[in-house]
């Protein structure tokens, strides 16, 4: 696979990331021609300035990593992220609503984000480590109905979680791809072999902090 770098969102979401850590991340992403960076909202404006005219995508996270925020707050967070120059929004689904089979609530929550995003890509993080197979299927359907552009496996913040698995990527791809939606694999993708497996299973984006190692 000779364009692996174009799949990678170089990711740094640790809460103790310093400004310098973010700059190193951006420099690496530019050097290796990654698709984008994925960073916390606090750093979107700084990243956009630091990038100047470089077209690297600045991806940020919304309601992250628990998803248990009010929809109005998620929408406001999107609005501010766009003001600071975010290109794409990775939101966490209302996991409690999926657990409660309250699919309408989960759908409305995503719709609030999609509406605020003004056409920018919205990726819905399902947090697959916390869901059963049936719940993953329902969460995909909800994301389709709400008009999101991507489903994404994981936040990387679940204690004891495994993150993306080939099985889940295949399942998600099978459900969303007929609706022109894409799949992002994230969480635990730490080497080239795993990244390629995810892409073969249907992922068109890889969220990872190991991007440099993966393309080397």
């Amino acid at each position: 696979m000779n364009n692996l770098e174009s799949y990678i969102e170089h990711t740094l979401l640790k809460p103790d990331a310093s400004l310098n850590d973010i700059k190193v991340l951006i420099d690496e992403a530019v050097t290796h021609k990654f698709c984008g960076i994925c960073i916390n909202p606090l750093y979107v404006g700084i990243a956009r300035e630091y990038l100047e005219k470089n077209p690297l995508k600045v991806v940020t996270v919304i309601g992250f990593p628990l998803g248990a925020n009010l929809s109005s707050v998620k929408a406001f967070e999107v609005q501010k992220a766009l003001e600071y120059g975010a290109d794409e929004l990775d939101m966490v689904i209302d996991i409690g609503a999926i657990k409660d089979k309250n699919y309408k609530r989960a759908e409305n929550d995503i719709k609030a984000v999609v509406n605020a995003a003004e056409g920018k890509f919205v990726k819905v993080i399902l947090e697959t480590d916390l869901l059963s197979r049936d719940e993953i299927i329902e969460a995909c359907k909800v994301s389709i109905n709400a008009g999101a552009q991507f489903v994404k496996t994981s936040t990387g913040f679940v204690k004891g979680g495994v993150g993306a698995t080939v099985e889940n990527i295949k399942l998600m791809y099978e459900i969303v791809s007929p609706h022109d939606m894409q799949v992002k694999a994230s969480g635990g993708v730490k080497d080239k072999e795993t990244a390629i497996k995810m892409i073969k299973a249907g992922a068109t984006r890889i969220g990872t902090s190991s991007g440099v190692k993966i393309v080397k």
Copy 2:
């Protein structure tokens, strides 16, 4: 210690908590006469309704658990939480700003929350597992300067984190108590013995999901 229950904020912040889980939490808190419950923002309105006239404090979390949100978003989250009936706000400090020794940024972030809180108690979560002793001291000073009412140790979401320690509670108490501020111990307080140690070290609140076990 015969009023241990009055120190306890019965806590459920798991992202996959269902509505029923929240109701069970509230019932337990009422039964055991706990000081309050600590829940995600999504459930504040429901909790307030379910409690009817019961004076149990509804505590919620802001910019949780990473703290790497924009100050304007944290402030908006406070505003909405108050609209839904929250009594106290536990916010996560801008950990990156502390790492960068950008104390002014950290202080302004807390101030934005304090201003939005309209006099309701603001507890600043330092996330002590990610800070050095010196950084904990600086984070306490920043919280004092910003006008918060509490410092609090932990979110409970750091992988491999230990949460509250007697040593950190003592340190935090020593710095903030001359300024009429209080200390909340949270993360890893799972039994009566540990709870009592935290209180003896200076904590006036215990955030725990093991409240029922602790008072039995």
